[in-house]
Amino acid sequence: MRSINLKFNKLIKYHLLFVCLIVFLLPKVSSGTNYADNQTDTSITNNNLPSVISDTLDTSLKERKIILKDSSVLVPGEPVTSIQEHPQEKVNSPHNNVNKIVLWLMGDKNVAEYKIRLIDYGNDHLPLFLRKYFMRFVEKTYTYPIIILFLLLISGLILNVTIVLLVMYFTSKTKNHRERYVRIYRNHYEDVLRSFLFGDIDWDLARLKLKRLKVPLNRKILTDVLLVFKENLRGEMDSQIPQIFLKLGLEKDSIKLSKSIFYFRRIEGLKALTNLDPENAKVIISNYLNDSHITVRTEAQVAYVRLHPENPFEFLKTLKKPFTRWTQLSSFYIFRLHQIPVPSFTDYLDSEIPTIRNFGLRMIIFFQQLENAPAIFKLLDSPFEMTRYLSIQAINDLRLYDGKQLIKNIYQGETEKNKIEIIKALKNIGDEADFEFLESIILSDSISLKTEACRSLYYINNLGRERLNVLNQNSDLEIDQFLAHVTNSRN
């Protein structure tokens, strides 16, 4: 690092010298030569001669004549006499002060046009006191040797690169310093808290050893350490950790964070409060259950499940935003991890939000809540495909025989996905009365429906298998091939 620092210093030093050289020396040198050059060059360009020639015509009139006579470099039909006959008349042309390389690069028409545009722009947009400086700048730009412009450009580039490198260097240095600081204090706080929790030292001594707690970063480090303790340890220590959090007044920081305008800070605050100060958290998270930011909302909803074991999903009744799949999974994980008593999910089947209804159905299936059958049947009329799909699945998984006729009734108007689910349900809750229904499906065109119907008919009972054999013999549907597929253990 030190060597890099020295190199940077050298680079800046040389760069400054270089810029000084350009600013103080080169303009003086160039201003002495410009006038003579311009007199001859502009006269040539006005006659539309190639600029290659003009570069070579600096020295003497004799040389000019020799070159101009060379017909191979002249454009046929172009008048060349003016330079020989009236060289002085061309001095007052529009480009008399313009750099020859600029002319060569841009062409004389463009040069004049751009210059006029720049001047017009200055007149139209700049305040009066700035105009004269602007005009001077435009004039200078057109008269300075282009090499100086290039050198200035390169200097600017070097300066930019140097600044970027310096910023990177100092950012990296600051980051490393901060990481080292965090590591040292984290280890220190861990050791002190461990000694206190194991009873090696009393609270007064521990408080003395917990240094620099007025610094916000240190308070954050300590909160993180307490969170890790809380998340990993149970038992006696489990109750001591929130007490430490409150004794040190760290909850004030977390409450402040939870009100931050930045969503990630709000999450940080909510997480700390949920784990270490549940009473405060209960009040605060209720404000974020319908937060506009999805991540904050998820954090608040998951926290609610954890903090309200008596009724973990009560918030779903007041939820106005969709209950996302990720939140459903996170809530379910927390629910299982903390072994929270399972509530009845019937209430959520009436929700206006489809994602909540679907979640309720999934939970009913998972926890086998058979008492919710009437509410499940109602959802077969839902306008949402997924809700109907989950209702059919619930009828199948919970073996709700009363729902069999209902799903058969809606079969014709269903999507292919739901039709397959209905046929699958008949495999488990069907009987001889459903043979005709399944046979009609086998006679249909859809291969996937046929396959599923064959499977259901085959597994309902032996009578179903006999019906399949009869159907196979009496028709050219090649049912034996479907049977080979459904009876294969790999499918």
Binding site: N187, E190, D191, R194, F198, V225, V228, F229, K230, E231, N232, L233, R234, G235, E236, M237, D238, L337
Partner: protein, 132 residues
């Protein structure tokens, strides 16, 4: 009887493999107070190296560690060497399939985080007694 038990306990060497420093040091602190000799490993690779070089009476390992994870450590130990060393898995992942896989590979016990240090000490004592 109690005294002789204590003497045997003091002789036992336990290897704790855990990548979280806070958890590692807490377990080490707790078990050291119980009179065991503790060796620390911060990842799976280090754990296998320590197992190779020392006569370990019990291994306490996390499942998710850098380089070589806990399941791989268990599989290697059960396949190649140290077949009789009791292994206690300590992990935050408590899903049924994960627990079952650890037992299938040869773990002797499984504790899910958050865990109680008192419970850990009891289980360690039990596993060491079984080995004896």
């Amino acid at each position: 009887m109690y005294l002789s038990d204590k003497i045997i306990v003091r002789m036992k060497k336990i290897l704790v493999a855990e990548d979280n420093r806070l958890i590692l040091e807490t377990i080490v602190h707790s078990l050291t107070r119980e009179g065991y000799e503790i060796i620390k490993a911060n990842d799976g690779k280090e754990c296998l190296k320590v197992m190779e070089e020392n006569e370990i009476d019990l291994l306490i390992t996390d499942l998710y560690m850098p380089y070589i994870n806990g399941n791989e450590v268990i599989a290697i130990l059960r396949d190649e060497r140290k077949k009789n060393t009791p292994i206690l898995v300590l992990s935050a992942a408590g899903a049924e399939d994960i627990v079952l896989k650890a037992f299938e590979l040869g773990a002797d016990d499984f504790m899910i985080k958050p865990f109680s240090l008192v419970e850990l000490n009891v289980r360690v004592r039990k596993l060491l007694a079984m080995k004896r």
